[in-house]
């Protein structure tokens, strides 16, 4: 196993939230820079989930479902009328101010206040209109992004690769990596089916010549397609290349040991 053995016991406790004090701080510091221990942490949480899933008990009462659906419906209503509510509160301000003003205020002073409030009100209406436009615009962009992501990641989506006539489909992959946010999307196709007790592992080769960084284990589906999305990666690493290797089933994590299967053409 490639995780750091000195942290193995603490990692299990951390996965259950049972580690505290200095040991917890030391481990958290280590986890920031150790992808293999972060991967083992995910697995240990998975092991813990098995314990949780064995729990059997009564079903939740029907009122719990009603409570949830009512809260959701109410929240949807509130969010859909938020801009209107904002406008109402703005229009109430002049009335509040007016009633608080003592009766001895002169007509001229009142007129000045009214003009000032009218201007403020107009400005706020403009701000609300602008915000509505921005929210609608962002909502559209988000919806488009969600649709793209959902299509890319949907295991039931039809995937057909087009190749030059007469050519056989070759194993290939595409890595899209954003260093700033440590976002990585990797799509592979036409990969050979895995031999027994083997797995594919994606590696990031840093531009500074540092050691390769494990970027996720994966198994292709029956048609040889696979996806890796946002594996845990250290911060700020510039990528020179990506490589997929065939590794023992538990992965190699520290450095590639197996045969390269597909290699980036940029490196």
């Amino acid at each position: 196993m490639s995780l750091h053995e000195e942290f193995a016991d603490d990692l299990a406790l951390y996965a259950l939230g049972s580690l505290d004090g200095a040991e917890r701080q030391t481990l958290e510091k280590h986890l920031k820079g150790c992808a293999s221990c972060r991967r083992e942490l995910e697995l240990l949480r998975g092991d813990g989930s098995l314990l949780a899933l064995t729990t059997a008990g009564p079903k939740p009462p029907a009122r719990a479902r009603q409570r949830l659906m009512s809260a959701i419906a109410e929240e949807s209503k509130v969010s859909s009328r938020l801009p209107v509510a904002g406008a109402a509160s703005i229009s109430e301000r002049p009335r509040l101010s007016w009633w608080l003003v003592p009766g001895l205020i002169t007509l001229a002073a009142l007129a000045v206040v009214c003009v000032s409030l009218w201007r403020q009100n107009s400005t706020l209406h403009e701000d609300v209109a602008l915000l509505r436009t921005q929210i609608a615009d962002q909502g559209n962009k988000l919806e488009q992004a969600n649709e793209v992501a959902a299509t890319l990641l949907d295991p039931e989506a039809t995937r057909i690769e087009l190749v030059a006539v007469g050519n056989k489909p070759q194993p290939r992959g595409k890595a899209i990596y954003q260093r700033r946010n440590r976002n990585l999307i990797f799509l592979a196709s036409n990969l050979p089916q895995l031999p027994a007790e083997k797995i594919y592992e994606l590696w990031l080769f840093p531009a500074n010549g540092g050691a390769p960084i494990a970027a996720g284990l994966f198994k292709p589906d029956a048609r040889g397609s696979a996806t890796v999305v946002n594996p845990p990666l250290p911060e700020g690493v510039e990528a020179k290349n990506f490589v997929v290797t065939l590794e023992p089933e538990s992965g190699s994590h520290e450095s590639p040991r197996g045969t390269p299967v597909i290699v980036g053409v940029g490196g």
Partner: protein, 182 residues
């Protein structure tokens, strides 16, 4: 507003995608699919039906507000919700603020247990493994997992050395993994 059919063939990911567009029907379908798991875990930890219902409500409301917190490429919905339920229930038990954002919790289970029939078979195996596990080991694991005790608290409670407790918990967890891999 369109609604996703709440049948067993609709994938968890399709439901989450529909929830992202505000589909309340999809949320109801997801609740019907997983509320029993969340409630059972919360009830096991809290031993109080009212408190367990609060955890149930809290988790599904968070999922409604932030469906992107579930990342289908990093684990299956049942395992993820079970772990979140356990975390939130322990937080409630200890009367403390939530310790983790739900999107920070990543759970990996091999093989993937997204299909209920696979999950059911896997759970039979895990229950079998728990029954054959040495009693002190199972006890340490359950105290940590369902009572939210730290290893120091478990050592004090059982009178065992700290190192023994640590090792028991780790080997206990790993034995559950092995039984699935077998």
């Amino acid at each position: 507003m369109s609604s996703v059919e709440s049948n067993a063939t609709t994938s968890d990911l399709a439901l989450v995608t529909a929830i992202r567009s505000g589909d309340q029907g999809a949320m109801a379908a997801l609740y019907d699919r997983f509320s029993s798991i969340v409630y059972a875990v919360a009830l096991r930890v809290l031993q109080d039906t009212g408190a367990a219902e609060d955890v149930l409500q809290d988790i599904f409301m968070q999922l409604w507000r932030n469906p992107a917190a579930f990342d289908a490429s990093r684990g299956n919905m049942a395992s993820w919700l079970a772990v979140i339920a356990r975390h939130r229930a322990i937080d409630a038990l200890r009367r403390r603020r939530p310790q983790d954002d739900i999107e920070d919790v990543i759970v990996s289970v091999e093989p993937n247990l997204a299909v209920e029939a696979d999950r059911s078979r896997a759970m039979d195996k895990v229950r079998g493994a728990l029954q054959t596990m040495p009693a002190p080991q199972r006890s340490a694991l359950e105290m940590a997992y369902f009572e939210g005790l730290t290893h120091v608290e478990i050592a004090e409670k059982t009178g065992e050395p700290l190192g023994t407790i640590k090792t028991r918990i780790r080997t206990g967890l790993l034995s559950l993994r092995k039984v699935l891999a077998a």
